[in-house]
Symmetry: C2
Subunit: 464 residues, 2 copies
């Protein structure tokens, strides 16, 4: 057994134990495949509780550094020095998404696109699981390829009440909004087609479109939505097949379409027979009563995409799209080809969660919490004299500009990573990722330490 | 309220009520949006139990014919005359897949690719749900994009024990085997590439490859696996990038590679640097000890695809692939682009099910049940003097040939549908769907009534 010693500069006791084991592996005191000391043994040696050791081991198992063998013990993984995905020198879009919530317990992630785990209504999910566990009906076999009928019906009625004239056959459940976007690309577009996206816009969508062989053109985004003069020009010159846009609580800026922009965008795209793909995944985080494009203009030239991932339960991977019955039928074909069906069990759990009496007030609490976080963040930015694209009005994101003369948020992001802050430099959200002085900040993670870091970084740059 | 009357020729009382309501809608006695009589009211009028009416209503809701409004009552759907997907005159591959388990309670589906609901271990899933419902850890937030580490570890160890040398970073969890296939297409191939498939082979795979712009060539399938002379020729002439094959309990024939075929296929593909994509989704139904191709030749030129859908819980949509660490890393990128992550909750439920003490014997019971069904089916075919491609040896499928001179199973399938039997004509499993005299029969649904139908059909043909 190697001699492990704790280094108090490494954080909590759990983190110190994890660090010591990682160091022992890196320094070859622990070889691949070698058995680790038992939990009790190590606790005694280090004079700490078995709980702390057990927790450290289980986190290392989660990270793939060590392996647990049932009834046997813990072993060093065969390739422990190549963790699943090591951070690249520059956090690109892929790394950001791959590394989601906890690349390590040390990293705070104002760059990510989701809420901290404890903000989601876990108790409501647990309740739904227990109810489902007492119900012998459904969930184990394939469901209908279009998705579970009662959830489709719920969505149909919910969106009708919001003014979207949906046909009952026009609701398709998907594996998150991501699958909805991927199906639209497969069913509605062909390689070589030109498509428009918000610039900046959703990073995974840009990657998806480019991989599918589309010519992707960005429409400059303003604090009131797309720049309509630029949009008109692109519609005229490039004859795009579709415009993928995110009108409410826009990712990455947090801004929303004004009523006038919505009207103009609908008018222009209709003139040019350009399909609108309306990404409204943050609807549940939206406080204002701004209508969706689909409510204004119907579903003839619009595909509307929604999700339960932003506010309810990303882990269930349930999203949906609304479209004309005819278009939905075509999209369904691709869903079958790619997945046979989505998970009826997950769809049943989502409907149970939606119908839980506590859900409305939990969701309202979440919206209020983000609204307050946005206000505090905006005040903080003003104190350190940085600027945001627009003051947050609920939703997840704030788009922050580096002070002049800085033109690229990448080097800032690298410096941040070294200090345990994972940021999202703006280039990730632009076609072909050109340097930009912007940064996407997730309001649920944007607190005083981030402000301190930004201020300190700017001062060091001036000093340098 | 319309006068509804029951027609005893329509089957059970529940089916009679459903039929009466459908007829009233079709005959315009019940208009779209109109409220239906309450359950109690209709039960009294018809002199039947409220249970029967409630059950009929709930099935009609599932089918989208009527809608339930909470605390209010039942209404005719707005487009009840266009049910989600009406059967086309000829059941093509899409219709088969879309309509899966219950297009209507009346149809028996020897053409489908899954087990009857009650064959799956529902109690084990219910137990897993209740356990998960008491565990406040995990499932609500995004999981790791590669999938939940403990299930990946389980798969790694399971396949290592079966002789597949997997790297711990070489396991990727997916949304069923379908997503694994779709990711391989996106990551490993480009439009215009030539690929080989088993002929006959898996219908959704052929559609997926063709839609992605591949040149798809079928390699003739024998009762010992692919015809190696034809394979050698195609490898030489067409220079394919990949060969998608299903060596054990092949879909649609139920045959498996012989040891000699496996050796020869590995030798030939290695010579021509052709990637093998080994579809082994029926592994859990496999009685024999035939090794997988991946166990024989490792994962350098093989991607191995597995699933929990055939025997454990299709509704959870959990599948996986094994590949070299480097290839898995590339595939992961496409998974993130298409889905961000799979459902950690579903992955946790699968691992709980796998670890349930009742699972091994339940799975063995299922294999035995299919084996016995296969023996009975083969005897039945011999009695009516029809032939199968090979005697079933476990697994789900039997590939049955129409007696001479019939050359196309399509008209048989049409006649079957009219009698409430959904069959799978062999053309669905061939590139470009040429007529074939073969029929895929799912052993879990292939009983005496199907034999009677086949025999009766053949007699009527002779008589005609």
């Amino acid at each position: 057994m190697p001699s492990l010693s704790l280094d108090p500069t490494q954080g909590s006791l759990i983190q110190q134990v994890m660090h010591a084991i990682r160091q022992a592996i890196a320094g070859h005191q622990l070889a691949p495949g070698q058995r680790l000391p038992s939990v009790r043994q190590l606790a005694t040696t280090l004079g700490i509780s078995t709980f702390t050791v057990a927790d450290s081991y289980s986190r290392l198992v989660q990270q793939g550094v060590i392996l647990a063998r049932r009834g046997d013990g813990y072993y060093v993984a065969r390739t422990p020095l190549a963790p699943p995905m090591a951070p690249p020198p520059v956090p690109d879009a892929r790394w950001l998404t791959d590394h989601r919530i906890t690349p390590g317990p040390e990293v705070v992630q104002p760059g990510c696109g989701w809420l901290p785990n404890q903000w989601y209504p876990t108790q409501i999910l647990q309740r739904a699981l227990r109810q489902q566990g007492r119900d012998t009906d459904g969930g184990i076999a394939y469901g209908h390829s279009a998705g579970w009928q009662p959830l489709r019906q719920h969505l149909w009625q919910h969106h009708e009440a919001l003014g979207i004239p949906v046909d009952p056959q026009g609701v398709l459940l998907t594996q998150g909004a991501s699958q909805a976007l991927a199906l639209v690309v497969q069913s509605e577009l062909r390689a070589g087609d030109t498509v428009l996206v918000d610039d900046p816009g959703y990073c995974n969508l840009i990657a998806l479109l480019q991989h599918a062989g589309m010519r992707v053109i960005g429409v400059p985004w303003t604090a009131q939505g797309p720049d309509c003069t630029a949009l008109a020009e692109q519609l005229h010159l490039a004859r795009p097949k579709a415009f993928f846009t995110n009108p409410r609580q826009h990712n990455p800026t947090g801004a929303s379409y004004s009523a006038a922009t919505a009207f103009r965008v609908l008018q222009l795209t209709a003139q040019h027979h350009c399909l609108i793909v309306e990404d409204d995944v943050s609807a549940a985080l939206t406080q204002s009563a701004t209508p969706t494009l689909a409510a204004l203009a119907g579903l003839e030239h619009i595909i509307y995409i929604g999700s339960f991932a932003k506010a309810l339960a990303p882990g269930l991977r349930v999203g949906y799209l609304l479209a004309s019955a005819e278009r939905t039928d075509r999209l369904l074909r691709y869903k079958v080809m790619n997945a046979i069906a989505s998970s009826e069990l997950a769809e049943r759990l989502v409907l149970r969660m939606l119908k839980d009496p506590d859900t409305p007030k939990e969701q309202q609490r979440l919206r209020d919490r983000l609204l307050r976080a946005g206000e505090r963040w905006q005040q903080g930015l003003e104190r350190i004299r940085w600027q945001s694209f627009c003051p947050p009005q609920g939703g997840l994101f704030s788009w922050v500009r580096l002070p002049a003369p800085h033109q690229d948020a990448l080097s800032l992001s690298e410096a941040a990573l070294a200090e345990g802050l994972l940021l999202a430099p703006g280039s990730q959200f632009r076609v072909d990722a050109p340097p930009t002085p912007w940064l996407r900040c997730n309001l649920a993670y944007s607190h005083q330490p981030l402000l301190d870091f930004l201020q300190g970084w700017a001062r060091r740059q001036e000093g340098a």
